[in-house]
Protein backbone atom coordinates (compact mmCIF):
# COMPACT_ATOMS: atom_id res chain seq x y z
CA UNK A 1 0.00 0.00 0.00
CA UNK A 2 1.10 3.52 -0.69
CA UNK A 3 2.43 5.48 2.25
CA UNK A 4 2.84 8.86 0.54
CA UNK A 5 0.66 11.15 -1.50
CA UNK A 6 0.83 14.67 -2.87
CA UNK A 7 -1.78 17.40 -2.87
CA UNK A 8 -1.58 20.12 -5.53
CA UNK A 9 -3.32 23.32 -4.45
CA UNK A 10 -3.90 26.95 -5.34
CA UNK A 11 -1.09 27.87 -2.95
CA UNK A 12 1.46 25.14 -3.30
CA UNK A 13 2.17 21.43 -3.17
CA UNK A 14 1.80 19.44 0.05
CA UNK A 15 3.21 15.97 0.61
CA UNK A 16 1.73 13.64 3.21
CA UNK A 17 3.39 10.59 4.70
CA UNK A 18 1.95 7.81 6.79
CA UNK A 19 4.05 7.55 9.91
CA UNK A 20 3.59 5.55 13.09
CA UNK A 21 0.97 8.00 14.34
CA UNK A 22 -0.88 8.34 11.06
CA UNK A 23 -0.87 10.71 8.12
CA UNK A 24 0.69 14.15 8.32
CA UNK A 25 2.07 16.83 6.03
CA UNK A 26 5.81 16.24 5.91
CA UNK A 27 6.82 18.58 3.11
CA UNK A 28 5.63 21.75 1.41
CA UNK A 29 6.82 22.91 -2.00
CA UNK A 30 6.10 26.05 -4.03
CA UNK A 31 4.26 27.64 -1.08
CA UNK A 32 2.18 30.54 -2.36
CA UNK A 33 2.29 29.46 -5.99
CA UNK A 34 -0.57 27.97 -7.96
CA UNK A 35 0.30 24.28 -8.33
CA UNK A 36 -2.31 22.83 -10.66
CA UNK A 37 -1.14 19.26 -11.16
CA UNK A 38 1.43 16.71 -10.08
CA UNK A 39 2.62 13.42 -11.53
CA UNK A 40 4.61 10.74 -9.78
CA UNK A 41 6.49 8.51 -12.19
CA UNK A 42 6.53 5.07 -10.61
CA UNK A 43 9.26 3.93 -13.05
CA UNK A 44 11.85 6.51 -12.04
CA UNK A 45 10.52 8.09 -8.87
CA UNK A 46 10.46 11.48 -10.60
CA UNK A 47 7.90 14.06 -9.59
CA UNK A 48 6.68 16.58 -12.17
CA UNK A 49 4.72 19.57 -10.88
CA UNK A 50 2.88 22.11 -12.99
CA UNK A 51 2.69 25.72 -11.83
CA UNK A 52 0.48 28.39 -13.29
CA UNK A 53 2.13 31.72 -12.59
CA UNK A 54 -0.65 33.67 -14.27
CA UNK A 55 1.12 36.74 -15.63
CA UNK A 56 4.30 34.76 -16.20
CA UNK A 57 2.76 31.67 -17.74
CA UNK A 58 2.73 27.96 -17.05
CA UNK A 59 5.89 26.24 -15.91
CA UNK A 60 6.90 22.70 -15.08
CA UNK A 61 9.34 21.60 -12.41
CA UNK A 62 10.82 18.18 -11.76
CA UNK A 63 12.21 16.64 -8.60
CA UNK A 64 14.39 13.57 -8.51
CA UNK A 65 14.71 13.44 -4.74
CA UNK A 66 11.14 13.13 -3.59
CA UNK A 67 10.39 16.83 -3.67
CA UNK A 68 13.32 18.09 -1.59
CA UNK A 69 14.72 19.96 -4.61
CA UNK A 70 13.05 21.05 -7.83
CA UNK A 71 14.42 22.07 -11.21
CA UNK A 72 12.47 23.94 -13.85
CA UNK A 73 12.14 21.80 -16.98
CA UNK A 74 10.58 22.45 -20.37
CA UNK A 75 6.95 23.45 -20.74
CA UNK A 76 4.95 22.15 -23.71
CA UNK A 77 5.03 24.72 -26.50
CA UNK A 78 2.68 24.84 -29.43
CA UNK A 79 4.65 25.04 -32.66
CA UNK A 80 4.28 28.19 -34.77
CA UNK A 81 0.93 28.44 -36.48
CA UNK A 82 1.34 27.81 -40.24
CA UNK A 83 1.17 31.05 -42.22
CA UNK A 84 -1.42 29.70 -44.67
CA UNK A 85 -3.65 28.18 -42.00
CA UNK A 86 -7.02 29.68 -41.15
CA UNK A 87 -8.38 28.13 -37.98
CA UNK A 88 -12.05 27.22 -37.80
CA UNK A 89 -14.32 28.72 -35.18
CA UNK A 90 -15.36 26.22 -32.52
CA UNK A 91 -19.07 25.37 -32.65
CA UNK A 92 -20.08 26.93 -29.35
CA UNK A 93 -17.58 29.73 -28.78
CA UNK A 94 -17.87 30.95 -32.38
CA UNK A 95 -14.16 31.72 -32.55
CA UNK A 96 -11.06 29.58 -33.05
CA UNK A 97 -9.40 28.02 -30.03
CA UNK A 98 -6.16 29.81 -29.21
CA UNK A 99 -3.02 28.21 -30.61
CA UNK A 100 -1.08 28.67 -27.38
CA UNK A 101 -0.71 26.86 -24.07
CA UNK A 102 -3.43 27.81 -21.56
CA UNK A 103 -3.32 25.00 -19.00
CA UNK A 104 -1.64 21.66 -18.36
CA UNK A 105 -4.60 19.41 -17.55
CA UNK A 106 -3.18 15.88 -17.65
CA UNK A 107 0.16 14.20 -16.98
CA UNK A 108 0.54 10.44 -17.39
CA UNK A 109 3.65 8.30 -17.45
CA UNK A 110 4.19 6.08 -20.49
CA UNK A 111 4.50 2.32 -20.31
CA UNK A 112 6.88 0.32 -18.16
CA UNK A 113 8.88 -0.42 -21.31
CA UNK A 114 9.11 3.28 -22.22
CA UNK A 115 11.36 4.89 -19.61
CA UNK A 116 11.21 8.66 -19.85
CA UNK A 117 8.00 8.79 -21.84
CA UNK A 118 5.42 11.15 -20.37
CA UNK A 119 2.14 12.25 -21.96
CA UNK A 120 0.71 15.70 -21.29
CA UNK A 121 -2.78 16.98 -22.08
CA UNK A 122 -3.47 20.69 -22.30
CA UNK A 123 -5.95 23.41 -22.97
CA UNK A 124 -6.53 24.17 -25.84
CA UNK A 125 -6.76 20.50 -26.75
CA UNK A 126 -3.11 19.62 -27.29
CA UNK A 127 -1.58 16.25 -26.55
CA UNK A 128 2.17 16.41 -25.97
CA UNK A 129 4.73 13.65 -25.50
CA UNK A 130 8.09 13.76 -23.82
CA UNK A 131 10.66 11.03 -24.26
CA UNK A 132 13.11 12.43 -21.73
CA UNK A 133 11.13 12.79 -18.54
CA UNK A 134 9.98 16.32 -19.31
CA UNK A 135 13.17 17.87 -20.66
CA UNK A 136 11.43 18.41 -24.01
CA UNK A 137 7.91 18.04 -25.41
CA UNK A 138 6.47 17.45 -28.87
CA UNK A 139 2.90 18.15 -29.92
CA UNK A 140 1.15 15.07 -31.29
CA UNK A 141 0.32 16.37 -34.76
CA UNK A 142 -1.94 13.54 -35.96
CA UNK A 143 -4.46 14.39 -33.27
CA UNK A 144 -3.96 18.15 -33.39
CA UNK A 145 -4.22 18.22 -37.18
CA UNK A 146 -7.31 16.01 -37.32
CA UNK A 147 -10.04 18.32 -38.67
CA UNK A 148 -12.43 16.96 -36.06
CA UNK A 149 -10.19 18.50 -33.39
CA UNK A 150 -11.38 21.91 -34.50
CA UNK A 151 -14.93 20.90 -33.63
CA UNK A 152 -14.02 20.53 -29.97
CA UNK A 153 -15.31 23.18 -27.62
CA UNK A 154 -14.84 24.26 -24.03
CA UNK A 155 -16.76 22.59 -21.24
CA UNK A 156 -16.80 25.13 -18.46
CA UNK A 157 -13.60 26.67 -19.79
CA UNK A 158 -12.95 28.96 -22.72
CA UNK A 159 -11.03 26.27 -24.55
CA UNK A 160 -11.41 22.54 -25.06
CA UNK A 161 -8.92 20.46 -23.15
CA UNK A 162 -7.44 17.00 -22.69
CA UNK A 163 -7.76 15.92 -19.07
CA UNK A 164 -7.48 12.12 -19.23
CA UNK A 165 -4.68 10.00 -20.68
CA UNK A 166 -4.88 6.24 -20.12
CA UNK A 167 -1.89 4.15 -21.16
CA UNK A 168 -2.68 0.45 -21.53
CA UNK A 169 -0.41 -1.53 -19.16
CA UNK A 170 -0.42 -4.42 -21.67
CA UNK A 171 0.67 -2.29 -24.62
CA UNK A 172 1.87 1.27 -24.14
CA UNK A 173 1.11 2.11 -27.77
CA UNK A 174 -2.56 1.83 -26.90
CA UNK A 175 -3.53 5.18 -25.42
CA UNK A 176 -7.00 6.55 -24.67
CA UNK A 177 -7.56 10.25 -24.08
CA UNK A 178 -10.56 12.16 -22.83
CA UNK A 179 -11.51 15.63 -24.06
CA UNK A 180 -13.89 18.22 -22.65
CA UNK A 181 -15.61 18.65 -24.97
CA UNK A 182 -14.48 16.29 -27.65
CA UNK A 183 -15.25 12.81 -26.38
CA UNK A 184 -12.90 9.85 -26.15
CA UNK A 185 -10.07 9.23 -28.60
CA UNK A 186 -7.81 6.21 -28.93
CA UNK A 187 -4.65 5.23 -30.69
CA UNK A 188 -3.21 1.75 -31.15
CA UNK A 189 0.16 2.86 -32.48
CA UNK A 190 1.43 5.32 -29.91
CA UNK A 191 -0.19 8.36 -31.47
CA UNK A 192 0.34 7.85 -35.19
CA UNK A 193 -3.34 7.38 -35.95
CA UNK A 194 -6.39 8.22 -33.85
CA UNK A 195 -9.94 7.02 -33.87
CA UNK A 196 -12.91 8.54 -32.12
CA UNK A 197 -14.46 6.17 -29.63
CA UNK A 198 -17.42 6.90 -27.44
CA UNK A 199 -20.36 5.19 -29.12
CA UNK A 200 -23.22 5.24 -26.64
CA UNK A 201 -22.23 8.36 -24.74
CA UNK A 202 -25.06 10.86 -24.44
CA UNK A 203 -24.72 14.63 -24.18
CA UNK A 204 -27.76 16.14 -22.52
CA UNK A 205 -26.50 19.61 -23.34
CA UNK A 206 -26.70 19.06 -27.10
CA UNK A 207 -29.82 19.26 -29.28
CA UNK A 208 -31.52 15.83 -29.32
CA UNK A 209 -30.36 14.96 -32.83
CA UNK A 210 -26.74 15.51 -31.76
CA UNK A 211 -26.96 13.98 -28.30
CA UNK A 212 -25.03 10.84 -29.23
CA UNK A 213 -22.43 12.61 -31.38
CA UNK A 214 -19.14 11.15 -30.04
CA UNK A 215 -17.12 14.30 -30.74
CA UNK A 216 -19.45 16.50 -28.68
CA UNK A 217 -19.27 14.50 -25.45
CA UNK A 218 -18.03 15.95 -22.18
CA UNK A 219 -16.35 13.16 -20.24
CA UNK A 220 -15.14 14.88 -17.08
CA UNK A 221 -12.63 12.12 -16.36
CA UNK A 222 -11.78 8.64 -17.62
CA UNK A 223 -10.46 6.01 -15.19
CA UNK A 224 -8.99 2.71 -16.34
CA UNK A 225 -8.76 -0.56 -14.41
CA UNK A 226 -5.06 -1.38 -14.44
CA UNK A 227 -5.53 -5.17 -14.34
CA UNK A 228 -8.41 -5.15 -16.84
CA UNK A 229 -7.54 -2.20 -19.09
CA UNK A 230 -10.49 -2.72 -21.42
CA UNK A 231 -12.71 -1.65 -18.53
CA UNK A 232 -13.04 2.12 -18.22
CA UNK A 233 -15.28 4.33 -16.16
CA UNK A 234 -16.29 7.87 -17.05
CA UNK A 235 -17.74 10.57 -14.89
CA UNK A 236 -19.45 12.50 -17.65
CA UNK A 237 -21.08 15.91 -17.52
CA UNK A 238 -24.51 14.38 -17.36
CA UNK A 239 -23.98 10.89 -16.07
CA UNK A 240 -21.81 7.89 -15.43
CA UNK A 241 -20.70 5.64 -18.27
CA UNK A 242 -18.80 2.37 -18.44
CA UNK A 243 -16.96 0.66 -21.24
CA UNK A 244 -15.83 -2.97 -21.30
CA UNK A 245 -14.32 -2.85 -24.78
CA UNK A 246 -11.51 -0.30 -24.44
CA UNK A 247 -13.66 2.78 -25.07
CA UNK A 248 -15.24 1.60 -28.32
CA UNK A 249 -18.71 1.61 -26.80
CA UNK A 250 -20.22 2.87 -23.58
CA UNK A 251 -23.28 2.14 -21.53
CA UNK A 252 -24.90 4.71 -19.31
CA UNK A 253 -25.50 3.82 -15.67
CA UNK A 254 -28.75 5.46 -14.75
CA UNK A 255 -30.53 6.19 -11.51
CA UNK A 256 -27.44 6.84 -9.41
CA UNK A 257 -28.29 8.68 -6.19
CA UNK A 258 -27.89 11.29 -4.85
CA UNK A 259 -26.60 12.51 -8.21
CA UNK A 260 -24.94 11.21 -11.34
CA UNK A 261 -23.13 14.53 -11.78
CA UNK A 262 -19.59 15.07 -10.60
CA UNK A 263 -16.02 15.37 -11.77
CA UNK A 264 -13.92 12.71 -10.08
CA UNK A 265 -13.84 8.97 -10.64
CA UNK A 266 -11.35 6.32 -9.53
CA UNK A 267 -11.19 2.77 -10.86
CA UNK A 268 -10.09 -0.08 -8.66
CA UNK A 269 -6.64 -1.17 -9.88
CA UNK A 270 -7.52 -4.88 -9.89
CA UNK A 271 -11.28 -5.32 -9.60
CA UNK A 272 -13.02 -4.28 -12.83
CA UNK A 273 -16.37 -4.12 -11.06
CA UNK A 274 -15.33 -1.52 -8.46
CA UNK A 275 -15.16 2.23 -8.93
CA UNK A 276 -15.69 5.34 -6.83
CA UNK A 277 -17.43 8.62 -7.68
CA UNK A 278 -18.04 11.84 -5.75
CA UNK A 279 -21.46 13.22 -6.63
CA UNK A 280 -22.59 16.84 -6.63
CA UNK A 281 -25.64 18.83 -7.59
CA UNK A 282 -25.60 19.26 -11.33
CA UNK A 283 -24.50 21.28 -13.13
CA UNK A 284 -24.47 25.03 -12.81
CA UNK A 285 -24.61 24.79 -9.00
CA UNK A 286 -21.92 22.24 -8.15
CA UNK A 287 -22.01 21.52 -4.46
CA UNK A 288 -22.62 18.29 -2.51
CA UNK A 289 -26.27 17.28 -2.51
CA UNK A 290 -27.96 18.55 0.66
CA UNK A 291 -24.58 19.79 1.92
CA UNK A 292 -23.44 16.21 2.59
CA UNK A 293 -20.06 15.01 1.33
CA UNK A 294 -20.43 11.40 0.17
CA UNK A 295 -18.56 8.93 -1.99
CA UNK A 296 -20.46 6.56 -4.26
CA UNK A 297 -18.96 3.12 -4.72
CA UNK A 298 -20.02 0.29 -6.95
CA UNK A 299 -18.68 -3.23 -6.47
CA UNK A 300 -20.82 -4.96 -9.04
CA UNK A 301 -19.92 -3.22 -12.26
CA UNK A 302 -22.39 -0.39 -11.81
CA UNK A 303 -25.54 -2.39 -11.12
CA UNK A 304 -25.75 -0.95 -7.61
CA UNK A 305 -24.00 1.81 -5.66
CA UNK A 306 -23.30 2.29 -1.98
CA UNK A 307 -23.27 5.86 -0.73
CA UNK A 308 -20.40 6.01 1.75
CA UNK A 309 -20.59 8.61 4.52
CA UNK A 310 -18.68 7.39 7.58
CA UNK A 311 -16.22 10.06 8.64
CA UNK A 312 -17.40 12.58 6.03
CA UNK A 313 -19.24 15.81 6.95
CA UNK A 314 -22.97 15.38 6.67
CA UNK A 315 -24.28 18.87 7.17
CA UNK A 316 -23.46 22.26 5.70
CA UNK A 317 -20.47 20.97 3.78
CA UNK A 318 -20.00 22.59 0.39
CA UNK A 319 -16.83 20.88 -0.71
CA UNK A 320 -16.62 20.36 -4.45
CA UNK A 321 -14.10 17.76 -5.62
CA UNK A 322 -12.37 18.47 -8.90
CA UNK A 323 -11.61 15.75 -11.44
CA UNK A 324 -8.00 15.15 -10.43
CA UNK A 325 -8.60 15.46 -6.70
CA UNK A 326 -9.49 11.80 -6.02
CA UNK A 327 -6.96 8.99 -6.24
CA UNK A 328 -6.70 5.34 -5.26
CA UNK A 329 -3.44 3.58 -4.47
CA UNK A 330 -2.10 0.42 -6.08
CA UNK A 331 -3.81 -1.82 -3.52
CA UNK A 332 -7.28 -0.41 -4.04
CA UNK A 333 -7.67 0.01 -0.29
CA UNK A 334 -6.33 3.52 0.19
CA UNK A 335 -8.16 6.44 -1.35
CA UNK A 336 -7.72 10.14 -0.79
CA UNK A 337 -9.62 13.16 -2.00
CA UNK A 338 -9.51 16.90 -1.50
CA UNK A 339 -11.93 19.72 -2.08
CA UNK A 340 -12.22 23.26 -3.34
CA UNK A 341 -12.58 24.41 0.26
CA UNK A 342 -9.33 22.83 1.36
CA UNK A 343 -10.59 19.71 3.08
CA UNK A 344 -8.69 16.47 2.68
CA UNK A 345 -9.83 12.95 3.51
CA UNK A 346 -8.33 9.49 3.40
CA UNK A 347 -9.76 6.00 3.59
CA UNK A 348 -7.73 2.88 4.26
CA UNK A 349 -10.55 0.41 3.75
CA UNK A 350 -11.75 1.04 0.23
CA UNK A 351 -14.02 3.89 1.24
CA UNK A 352 -15.92 2.18 4.05
CA UNK A 353 -14.77 4.93 6.42
CA UNK A 354 -12.86 8.17 6.06
CA UNK A 355 -10.54 10.26 8.18
CA UNK A 356 -10.21 14.02 7.91
CA UNK A 357 -6.58 15.01 7.37
CA UNK A 358 -6.98 18.75 6.82
CA UNK A 359 -9.72 21.35 6.71
CA UNK A 360 -7.84 24.54 5.95
CA UNK A 361 -5.65 23.79 2.98
CA UNK A 362 -5.88 26.02 -0.09
CA UNK A 363 -8.30 24.94 -2.82
CA UNK A 364 -7.21 21.46 -3.91
CA UNK A 365 -6.75 20.66 -7.60
CA UNK A 366 -5.10 17.25 -7.56
CA UNK A 367 -4.34 14.35 -5.22
CA UNK A 368 -1.77 11.76 -6.28
CA UNK A 369 -0.46 8.70 -4.46
CA UNK A 370 3.07 7.53 -5.00
CA UNK A 371 2.49 4.05 -6.35
CA UNK A 372 4.83 1.17 -6.82
CA UNK A 373 5.06 -0.11 -10.41
Amino acid sequence: MSTRFHVATRKGLFTLDRGASGWSIMQTSFLGDNCTLLMHDARSGDLIATLNHGHFGIKMHRSRDGGANWTEVATPQYPPQPANYTPKATPLEGKPADWSLKLVWALTAGGADEPGVVWCGTLPGGLFRSEDGGDSWTLNRPLWDDPRREEWFGGGADHPGIHSICVDPRDARHVIVGVSCGGVWKTRDGGGAWELGGRGMRAEFMPPEHAFEPNAQDPHLIAQCQSHPDVLWVQHHNGIFKSSDAAASWSEIEGVQPSAFGFAVAAHPHDPDTAWFIPAVKDEKRYPTNGRVVVNRTRDGGRTFQTLTEGLPQQHAYDLVYRHALDVDESGDRLAFGSTTGSLWISENGGDSWQTLATHLPPIYAVRFEKTP
Binding site: G54, F56, P76, S100
Partner: protein
Protein backbone atom coordinates in the same frame (compact mmCIF):
# COMPACT_ATOMS: atom_id res chain seq x y z
CA UNK B 1 22.39 50.61 -26.12
CA UNK B 2 19.04 50.68 -24.35
CA UNK B 3 18.76 49.77 -20.69
CA UNK B 4 16.21 46.99 -20.13
CA UNK B 5 14.77 46.70 -16.61
CA UNK B 6 12.32 44.09 -15.30
CA UNK B 7 9.52 44.14 -12.76
CA UNK B 8 10.59 43.03 -9.32
CA UNK B 9 7.79 40.43 -9.31
CA UNK B 10 9.52 38.29 -11.91
CA UNK B 11 12.76 38.04 -9.97
CA UNK B 12 11.63 35.31 -7.58
CA UNK B 13 10.90 33.04 -10.55
CA UNK B 14 13.89 33.83 -12.69
CA UNK B 15 16.63 36.37 -12.06
CA UNK B 16 16.36 39.16 -14.62
CA UNK B 17 19.07 41.71 -13.92
CA UNK B 18 18.88 45.03 -15.77
CA UNK B 19 21.16 45.04 -18.80
CA UNK B 20 22.24 47.25 -21.68
CA UNK B 21 20.95 45.68 -24.89
CA UNK B 22 21.32 46.54 -28.58
CA UNK B 23 18.20 47.00 -30.65
CA UNK B 24 16.18 49.56 -32.57
CA UNK B 25 12.76 48.16 -31.69
CA UNK B 26 11.21 46.60 -28.62
CA UNK B 27 11.26 43.18 -30.32
CA UNK B 28 14.99 43.52 -31.05
CA UNK B 29 15.80 44.63 -27.53
CA UNK B 30 13.89 41.73 -25.99
CA UNK B 31 15.43 39.25 -28.40
CA UNK B 32 18.88 40.57 -27.58
CA UNK B 33 18.25 40.08 -23.89
CA UNK B 34 16.72 36.61 -24.22
CA UNK B 35 19.57 35.39 -26.43
CA UNK B 36 21.83 35.89 -23.45
CA UNK B 37 19.24 34.78 -20.93
CA UNK B 38 17.06 32.12 -22.48
CA UNK B 39 15.23 31.03 -19.34
CA UNK B 40 13.63 34.45 -18.96
CA UNK B 41 12.00 34.28 -22.40
CA UNK B 42 9.07 32.07 -21.39
CA UNK B 43 8.21 34.29 -18.44
CA UNK B 44 7.79 37.35 -20.66
CA UNK B 45 6.66 35.89 -24.00
CA UNK B 46 4.18 33.08 -24.58
CA UNK B 47 4.86 30.02 -26.74
CA UNK B 48 3.91 31.98 -29.84
CA UNK B 49 6.37 34.77 -29.07
CA UNK B 50 3.66 37.21 -27.98
CA UNK B 51 4.09 39.44 -24.95
CA UNK B 52 2.19 37.74 -22.13
CA UNK B 53 -1.30 39.07 -21.66
CA UNK B 54 -0.79 40.96 -18.41
CA UNK B 55 2.62 42.37 -19.18
CA UNK B 56 3.50 45.60 -20.89
CA UNK B 57 6.55 47.74 -21.61
CA UNK B 58 7.29 51.40 -21.10
CA UNK B 59 9.89 53.00 -23.34
CA UNK B 60 11.29 56.13 -21.71
CA UNK B 61 8.10 56.28 -19.68
CA UNK B 62 5.74 55.87 -22.63
CA UNK B 63 3.58 52.75 -22.78
CA UNK B 64 4.21 50.54 -25.78
CA UNK B 65 1.60 50.53 -28.57
CA UNK B 66 2.24 47.56 -30.83
CA UNK B 67 1.57 44.39 -28.84
CA UNK B 68 1.25 42.36 -32.03
CA UNK B 69 4.75 42.84 -33.49
CA UNK B 70 6.54 44.77 -30.71
CA UNK B 71 7.67 47.26 -33.33
CA UNK B 72 7.81 50.33 -31.08
CA UNK B 73 11.08 52.17 -31.73
CA UNK B 74 13.73 52.20 -29.03
CA UNK B 75 16.33 54.99 -29.01
CA UNK B 76 19.96 54.13 -28.44
CA UNK B 77 19.96 55.55 -24.91
CA UNK B 78 16.40 54.60 -24.00
CA UNK B 79 15.27 53.00 -20.77
CA UNK B 80 12.79 50.15 -21.26
CA UNK B 81 10.77 48.92 -18.29
CA UNK B 82 8.90 45.62 -18.42
CA UNK B 83 6.05 45.68 -15.94
CA UNK B 84 3.05 43.54 -15.06
CA UNK B 85 -0.48 44.22 -14.01
CA UNK B 86 -1.03 43.66 -10.31
CA UNK B 87 -3.95 41.33 -9.80
CA UNK B 88 -4.80 37.89 -8.53
CA UNK B 89 -5.66 36.28 -5.25
Amino acid sequence: MALLRFTQNIQRHVACPARQVEGATLAEVLEGYFRQHEQARGYVLDDQGKLRHHMTAFIDGNQMRDRERLSDPVAADAVVDLVQALSGG
